[in-house]
């Protein structure tokens, strides 16, 4: 008897590889200057799900993401690596969601899939580093959770338990949890498998038919044209039975009061020549005032 697994993934701006000016002149983030990638830890969560599928025949790996049409790229990538089913949750009414509103929409989508044994996601996304969406989704599902998982020690599908290694600041712990459970993964284990060439050929033209050129920020497509037989399922607010009041900006208790571009006030700095003698006298000075011993 296979397990039904949902993997939550996110397409994120690659904050580590800023290609141009990250800020526009009006002070907003210039997302166009940041290439979009598969959130790194989510790839490890996907690999963990595929590992379960390898171990427990008959298991099914469902991948869902919430975002604009361009986020279908991470779903295609998931198909290439071995996902059985992928869905994009997209609706203008989701725009402006904070982590709480995001977790609510994800909970509705997981309930639409139904009879879920395991929910996997990355510990955190590199654009916010909050690590909140996983636990918030688990709470909304009334599901137990184990965060910061780096390895499985034992999966017992018959007894419906999974033992995992959880990374802590000062070591690790091994926790056995009953199913269903939500797990968040670090990048320490489950190195992602490459795309399968056969699957790339199969799915390279997969689409949810998002044609409109959309800006990353706020253009959420109208999913009403969605057909059930399309490879990438497209779910809008109605199809996951979400309450609009709990979605997007309306469902987000946190508000951004202000954004400051970083302006540094220069203080008195002493520039030291990079010659050996100048460095020598700096060192001498630091020794003299007991800064270094």
């Amino acid at each position: 008897m296979g397990l039904n697994i949902v993997v939550l993934v996110k397409q994120v701006p690659d904050t580590k590889n800023v290609t141009g000016k990250a800020m526009k002149d009006d002070g907003t983030v210039n997302r166009a200057a940041l290439p979009a990638i598969f959130n790194p830890e989510d790839l490890h969560a996907l690999e963990a799900a595929l590992t379960v599928k390898d171990q427990v025949p008959g298991s099914r790996v469902n991948v869902i993401t919430m975002g604009p049409p361009s986020a279908t790229q991470v779903l295609k990538d998931s198909l290439y690596r071995g996902a059985d089913f992928v869905a994009l949750i997209s609706d203008r009414k989701f725009a402006g969601a904070d982590t709480l509103a995001t977790s609510y929409a994800l909970k509705c989508a997981i309930e639409k899939i139904g009879n879920v044994d395991l929910v996997f996601c990355g510990r955190q996304a590199i654009d916010g580093d909050t690590a909140q969406v996983g636990p918030q989704t688990a709470e909304k599902l009334g599901m137990n959770q184990v965060t910061c998982v780096s390895a499985f020690t034992k999966l017992d599908a018959k007894a419906r338990t999974i033992a995992v290694r959880r990374s802590l600041e000062s070591g690790y712990e091994v926790v056995r949890a009953k199913l269903p459970v939500l797990l968040t993964f670090t990048d320490e284990g489950f190195a992602p498998r490459p795309s399968s060439a056969r699957r790339v050929m199969m799915y390279k033209n997969a689409s949810a038919a998002p044609t409109a050129e959309a800006s990353y920020d706020d253009c959420y497509m109208n999913a009403s044209a969605c057909k059930d037989n399309e490879i990438i399922a497209l779910w809008d607010i109605a199809s996951i039975k979400a309450d609009p009041e709990s979605c997007g900006l309306a469902g987000s208790p946190t508000k951004v009061k202000k954004i400051d571009s970083v302006v540094l006030t220069a203080q008195d700095i002493r520039m030291i020549d990079n010659s050996e003698s100048a460095i020598g006298s700096l060192v001498h000075e630091l020794i003299a005032d007991h800064t270094i011993g």
Binding site: K255, M271, I279, G280, T291
Partner: protein, 337 residues
């Protein structure tokens, strides 16, 4: 002390010992509470914590809620969420703070999700101020300040319409103030009923790995960044640290590049440090990095790019290649010492 609207701190205990970050947050909570003219409460789930609870009072806690249950000795999410949600609903604090530890980051979001309130992760500053929203003025709300988006911006987050306002803060960010043994506070014991269904996780093994890196306690830190360019060059930084009997620090970029272990990372998502001397080598000085080291007593910046932001907070600047400057530094130190 008021019975409601206080500032509450979730106090984390590990094997019966209160975590350092929780004490730091109590100190910050005291400051916020004085500004708001309310009391400070601690929420301390655990087993046999009455003795440890006393030290919280000395840091200015007016009411310690000791939540006592055998099942709360080790942290697991469901029982902890249950007792914290119940306590928050009963006490109605206006602010709740959590350490951004693996425990705090596991627990805080569950509580926020349950109560449908906001939570801001990894704040580097907390302030009190007013906020206007759709013509309505919210007085004395919590400004939750954090760098965002790869450090290109500093965001001030508010959640004026929902109480409590909640935030997590990393260890070392808030300053410890001296304890006052004469402070008067109350310690109450709460004995919750926890149904068996809440215990879905079982701890099979806990392994402590001693921290070999002690950034927080280091007097001198020599830190390297992306400017090192390679693992080989990063070894020069380690050599300088070794010569000065200093700890090795690193920017996130150097950690991500695999040149040095994550335990060495300084910054918003790493360790916050206040050493006597911080030598930043090949570190451009992103805001996340600066958030973790800007309060160092002395900062020396070594970088090839004179426009690097690190020079704006440094006391001494050397523009040059670390392959020349670092060996010269080591040589000069060995000759003088």
């Amino acid at each position: 002390m008021k019975t409601k609207n206080n500032v509450m701190v979730f106090v984390q205990q590990d094997d019966g010992r209160i975590a350092d970050v929780s004490i730091e947050l109590v100190c910050k909570a005291r400051e916020l509470a004085d500004r708001l003219k309310v009391g400070v409460e601690a929420a301390l789930p655990g087993k046999g914590m009455a003795g440890e609870a006393k030290q919280l009072v000395a840091y200015g806690v007016d009411l310690v809620n000791c939540i006592e249950h055998d099942g709360l000795y080790h942290y697991t999410p469901l029982p902890y969420t249950k007792v914290m949600v119940d306590l928050i609903l009963e006490r109605e604090p206006q602010i709740v703070l959590y350490g951004a530890t693996t425990t705090g980051r596991d627990l805080g979001p569950r509580i926020a999700s349950n109560l449908k309130v906001g939570l801001t992760a990894d704040c580097t500053d907390l302030q009190i101020g007013d906020h206007e929203l759709q013509g309505k003025l919210f007085k004395d709300i919590l400004y939750q300040i954090r760098p965002a988006f790869g450090g290109n911006i500093i965001a001030t987050i508010v959640s004026p319409e929902k109480k409590p306002q909640m935030a997590t803060v990393r260890e070392g960010v808030m300053k410890l103030v001296p304890a006052n043994p004469g402070y008067k506070g109350e310690i109450v014991e709460i004995k919750p009923t926890l149904e068996a269904g809440l215990f879905q996780s079982e701890l099979l093994e806990a392994v402590k790995e001693a921290r070999t890196v002690n950034l927080k306690g280091a007097q001198i830190i020599v830190a390297g960044g992306m400017g090192a360019g390679s693992k080989e060059n990063f070894q020069l930084i380690e050599q300088l640290a070794h010569a000065l009997n200093a700890e090795v620090g690193a920017s996130r970029a150097a950690v991500d590049a695999g040149w040095v272990d994550k335990a060495h990372q300084v910054g918003q998502t790493g360790t916050t440090v206040r050493p006597k001397l911080y030598i930043a080598v090949g570190i451009s000085g992103s805001i996340q990095h600066r958030a973790g080291m800007a309060e160092s007593s002395r900062i020396i910046a070594i970088n090839t790019d004179p426009q690097s932001p690190i020079f704006q907070i440094a006391h001494y600047g050397i523009v040059g290649d670390l392959k020349d400057v670092v060996p010269a530094f080591i040589k000069a130190y060995k000759n003088k010492a």
